[in-house]
């Protein structure tokens, strides 16, 4: 197992030539078992950064090394394959497929990786139980509440035991109670699967569920001074 899981060196990103860079000089090292929260004001570039480190977008300068591989040297297919195996995503707007059942949604990453039955069924069932929605497995996602859908999304992000889980404002669309439950669940699952996690949020309360908090600014990542 390669450690650190993720290394960022001198990242910068700008969307257009005539506008200043969103951020510059971003350095970060993330080790196995670590759960990091990235905070920052809205529009500062948190989602942009997340996209860079998942290989969904390319930085203007700097390197992203995921599992020891420099993403900037890979083509799109290779990045996608690496992401498929290594990364799990949780989105603010859930993004589940409305035409698949809960069970099918959760099993998607396993299908993509070609995991065959009975392994596929066993792991899906395990994951559904772990997030507490095993009773809903045959339901369609449009029949669920927001909190339940986000559990589906968390199960999907973790079912293939990725080494890195990325969650972008996962509780932005949830009420306080569901939000708290979701965050607890997310942390527990990341720790249980012995990978690393990055939680992006603008809420201090949410960030506090992580091991460590950094703040994204235009000049790079700063450790949050103890309040």
């Amino acid at each position: 197992m390669i450690d650190p899981i993720l290394q960022l060196e001198g990242l910068s990103k700008r969307y257009s030539k005539d506008r200043p860079a969103i951020f510059e000089d971003v350095d970060l090292t993330l080790r196995s078992g670590e759960y990091l929260a990235i905070m920052g004001e809205s529009g500062v570039g948190k989602s942009t950064l997340l996209n860079l480190l998942a290989g969904l977008d390319t930085p203007d300068t700097g390197r992203v090394v995921l599992e020891g591989v420099d993403l900037t040297t890979l083509d799109d297919d290779a990045t996608t394959r690496l992401r498929r195996r290594t990364v799990g995503f949780v989105f603010q707007a859930f993004h589940v497929l409305p035409y698949l059942s809960v069970e099918q949604n959760v099993a998607l990453p396993l299908d993509l990786l070609g995991v065959a039955e009975p392994e596929r069924g066993r792991r899906t069932q395990e994951m559904l139980t772990a997030v507490g929605i095993e009773a809903l497995s045959q339901r369609h996602t449009r029949e669920l509440s927001g909190g339940e859908v986000q559990r589906v999304a968390i199960a999907r992000a973790l079912v293939h035991r990725p080494r890195l889980v990325l969650a972008d404002e996962p509780t932005g669309n949830l009420d306080a109670r569901s939000a708290a439950q979701t965050l607890t669940l997310l942390r527990a699952q990341i720790k249980a699967n012995a990978g690393a996690g990055i939680l992006i949020t603008h809420s201090r309360a949410a960030a506090d569920t992580a091991d460590r908090i950094v703040v994204l600014e235009a000049r790079g990542l700063k450790a949050l001074e103890a309040a």
């Binding site: 969904l56 297919d77 992401r83 498929r84 995503f89 993004h95 497929l97 035409y99 698949l100």
Partner: protein, 839 residues
């Protein structure tokens, strides 16, 4: 508030739609325009041509109350003398009306031989134009031409016109030309005595125009007169003269009109499917509007208004286009749309404001009907459910459609068995409409059942594709339906035309067994081959065998067009052997001569095998026993075949106007043709061809006649395909976020595109198979009901397998390409931005 509210929402929605998908908007407008244009132009051309035709007939009949008509070879003048003594007849004019064969030309010229003074009373407009020159008309060789005839024959006053009588050529002198306004069609006028002299019809006339004294009951007088006239001579109301021509073209005109209706139907369907799709696509924003306080009826009216806007634009465009097409057809083609039955020269476009408004209204109404259902459904959607996404109630609605679908199929199958109405297959068309509608209503149910059968393959790409189709079944059904409608109609037409072509080909082969054919100009009354000519032609070197025929027109029923009597085959057994018979009985023992009737005589006049048919020949009714029914694709109004022996026995006429020639092997047909022409007096006007050439030419004419149908069908399929591709691209765009997520969790671009291609191939294969089945069912109605009832002839069912397979493959391929292409477009916006509904 409610009204301005609806209007405001309507405007916002419409503008947004236009901005978002101008192409889709345009295609729908064009489809509607096509339907309206086709309908209105066919209508305009027909009314203009018929009107022109009607005017011309009216001029010829003039002031007559009754027209007495005999066979072409006429009846003795004595009848005229007898009628002149009848009380309550105020004016009477004898006429010899002939289609005269012209030397060196294949066309014929209608010539009226009249008594100028008597005609001046009954046809004052025409005789008035001649005026003083009337006296010159008494010269034996004098003829007056209408300006259309002068133009066609390129003749000026004082020049010579050569006509053929028997097989000798005679010269006439053009003494004047009628003005264009007096008579617009081709016509020659002669003195009746000169005409009788020139055309060897001394003492005979074939028409008498009658005017009755004021106060006489015209109808009862005519009925009374009818019973006193000799066989084969009929008393007609002038209106019948006009109607007869109109009836012959009726089936053809109705068919064209129905084609226009099919286009309109497709247009309505396109409005329905595009509106339904756009409502589905916008269901979240529509639900948002409802949540914001837009009422149910406001939303429904706004959406209905969208459809009506499409209808108004399309219909406006269609009406204008229709007038342009009609004007062009009338200017550049003869005004009969290629049918040849109604050659009206100089017909001009008549403005028909009321009908134009009607066609506009039909177009708008059709769009309104198409938009109504989706508008109502969208307004009924509970906003909460719609905001969350999914197909919801639409799916439930689709499921309930199957009952009405089945009912329509049953209704359609039942309608196909009903008889024609006034000679038109109206129930046949209704059956087609019902079957189409029923089949379309069944699409969602069949799709659901079909997808339920699809097994899980554990290939994520395919499985996901199947799941998405299953869940969004109403969406896929809608985009499918537009292609199913146009494709099945195309399949049905293709099968019908193919069946007809094969039957026609066989028929030609059966009727053209000889090596060569020769004939006098068709339809002419004056040129023929005498017994002597026939003998000389038969002995031309190179000819092994010759056989001659006599064809002539016979009027069986005063209200219908004349039928064709064909005398062919020396013995009755020969006759039977030469014909493409459908059914026959042996009538060897029968003392009465036998006749073989065409299917039209059976369908229209109701004759059966075993009946006795009375044919007026040589001034008497002759009885023939109907011994068989044969297929005749050449004579729409019916024909009857008797042996030459029986014909000559009844009439004493042993002349012929057609012949089949068998050549000795190794003989050159061109040389034979040259020698044949030299053998008879008027050889240059003879039409001489080889059977092969005639066969090929006939098939060419056939193909040309159906070219327009094919063109229209292809346009319909292209419109259907465009509809499918817009549906594909808009659904792909709507699924951008989904694709973005799949990219995040590691699906390759090519896997996503593959998934879309699978969806495209699955849906289009289903659509094509469904369309083939439906098309085959529709083609049965076309072949056995609509064709039969319109034309009164049968064709054998045959399926053009290879072209249909090729077409299916092309369609499936096109749908896959469309899906891939729209997937590419949807993926070109990067995955990152697609999931950014979260900020």
């Amino acid at each position: 508030m409610s009204r301005t509210g609806s209007y405001g929402i309507w405007r916002i929605l419409l503008l947004a739609q236009l901005r978002e998908q101008p192409g889709r908007f345009l295609v729908t407008v064009l489809a509607l325009a096509l339907g309206v244009a086709l309908g209105s132009s066919v209508y305009l051309v027909n009314t203009s041509a018929l009107n022109e035709f009607g005017l011309a007939t009216k001029r010829l009949v003039g002031e007559a109350d009754i027209v007495v008509r005999g066979p072409r070879d006429g009846f003795p003048e004595q009848l005229f003398v007898d009628l002149a003594h009848t009380p309550s007849v105020s004016a009477l004019s004898p006429v010899l009306e002939l289609e005269v064969a012209l030397s060196d030309r294949k066309e014929t010229l209608k010539v009226l031989g009249l008594d100028p003074f008597r005609a001046a009373v009954l046809q004052p407009a025409i005789m008035g134009d001649i005026g003083e020159a009337m006296f010159q008309l008494f010269d034996t060789d004098a003829i007056y031409l209408s300006s259309a005839a002068a133009q066609e024959l390129k003749l000026k006053r004082g020049e010579q016109l050569r006509v053929t009588v028997g097989s000798t050529s005679k010269a006439l002198r053009v003494i004047g030309i009628l003005s264009q306004n007096t008579y617009s069609q081709s016509l020659g006028l002669m003195d009746i005595a000169s005409a009788q002299w020139i055309f060897n019809a001394l003492g005979r006339v074939n028409r008498i125009d009658m005017r009755l004294s004021p106060g006489t009951d015209v109808n009862s007088f005519r009925r009374d007169l009818g019973t006193k006239l000799p066989p084969g001579v009929l008393a007609l109301a002038p209106q019948v003269e006009r109607d007869r021509a109109v009836t012959v073209t009726k089936a053809y005109r109705v068919n064209l009109n129905m084609l226009a209706l099919v286009a309109l139907f497709t247009g309505a369907f396109l409005v329905f499917s595009t509106q339904s799709l756009s409502v589905l696509r916008r269901r979240r924003s529509l639900a948002l509007l409802r949540a914001l306080g837009v009422t149910r009826s406001q939303l429904r009216n706004a959406l209905l208004g969208e459809g009506l806007a499409l209808g108004v634009l399309g219909s406006l465009l269609g009406v204008v286009l229709g007038m342009i097409i009609a004007a062009a057809v009338l200017k550049f083609l003869t005004a009969d749309l290629g049918n040849g039955q109604l050659r009206a020269a100089g017909a001009s476009l008549r403005s028909a404001p009321l009908q134009t408004v009607a066609f506009f209204a039909i177009g708008v109404a059709v769009a309104g009907i198409g938009a109504w259902v989706p508008a109502r459904n969208a307004a009924r959607q509970p906003p909460a459910r719609a905001l969350k996404g999914g197909d919801g109630d639409f799916k439930a609605a689709a499921r309930t459609g199957w009952r009405s679908g089945l009912a329509m199929l049953v209704l359609g199958s039942a309608l196909a068995w009903l008889p024609p109405v006034g000679g038109l297959p109206l129930f046949g068309y209704a059956a087609i409409a019902a079957l189409l509608l029923g089949a379309v209503l069944l699409v969602p149910t069949v799709t659901i059942q079909g997808l339920r059968l699809a097994p899980r393959t554990h290939r994520i790409v395919l499985d996901t594709a199947v799941s998405q189709l299953r869940e969004n079944v109403s969406l896929s059904a809608l985009s499918l339906a537009s292609i199913i409608v146009s494709f099945s109609l195309m399949v049905a037409m293709a099968i019908m035309i193919h069946s007809f072509r094969i039957s026609f080909d066989h028929w030609l082969g059966k009727l053209l067994p000889a090596d060569m054919l020769l004939r006098e100009p068709p339809g002419n009354d004056t040129a023929f081959l005498s017994k002597d000519d026939q003998a000389k032609l038969g002995t031309v070197t190179g000819i092994a065998r010759a056989e001659f025929r006599r064809t002539l027109q016979v009027l069986l029923d005063p209200t219908r067009a004349p039928i064709t009597l064909i005398a062919r085959g020396m013995s009755e057994a020969d006759t039977a052997a030469e014909l493409p018979l459908i059914r026959s009985v042996s009538a060897k023992e029968s003392p009465t001569p036998t006749a073989f009737i065409s299917e039209a005589l059976q369908d229209v006049y109701g004759y059966k095998i075993g009946d006795v048919l009375q044919i007026p020949l040589g001034g008497r009714n002759r009885a023939f026993l109907i011994a068989g029914v044969w297929r005749d694709y050449a004579r729409l109004s019916g024909s009857v075949v008797v042996s030459r022996h029986a014909y000559t026995a009844a009439t004493g006429d042993d002349s012929a106007n057609e012949g089949s020639l068998w050549l000795n092997t190794g003989t050159d047909s061109d040389t034979v043709a040259r020698m044949l022409r030299q053998t008879v007096g008027n050889g240059d006007a003879l039409e001489i061809t080889t059977s092969t050439a005639l066969h090929e030419r006939s098939l060419q004419i056939f193909d040309r006649a159906f070219a327009i149908t094919y063109a229209l069908e292809i346009i319909a399929v292209i419109i259907g395909l465009t509809g499918v591709s817009f549906a594909a691209s808009s659904t792909a765009l709507a699924r951008r976020a989904e694709f973005g997520m799949l990219r995040h969790i590691g699906m390759l671009r090519r896997q996503i595109i593959g998934m879309l291609a699978d969806e495209g191939v699955l849906t289009s294969t289903f659509g094509v198979v469904y369309g083939l089945g439906l098309g085959a069912a529709l083609s049965l109605v076309l072949v056995y009901v609509i064709n039969r009832q319109s034309f009164n002839w049968s064709i054998d069912f045959a399926v053009p397998v290879l072209p249909l397979v090729l077409l299916s493959v092309v369609l499936i391929g096109a749908a896959a390409v469309t899906a891939i292409w729209s997937g590419r477009a949807a993926l070109s916006q990067d995955a990152v931005r697609a999931v950014r509904e979260d900020w």
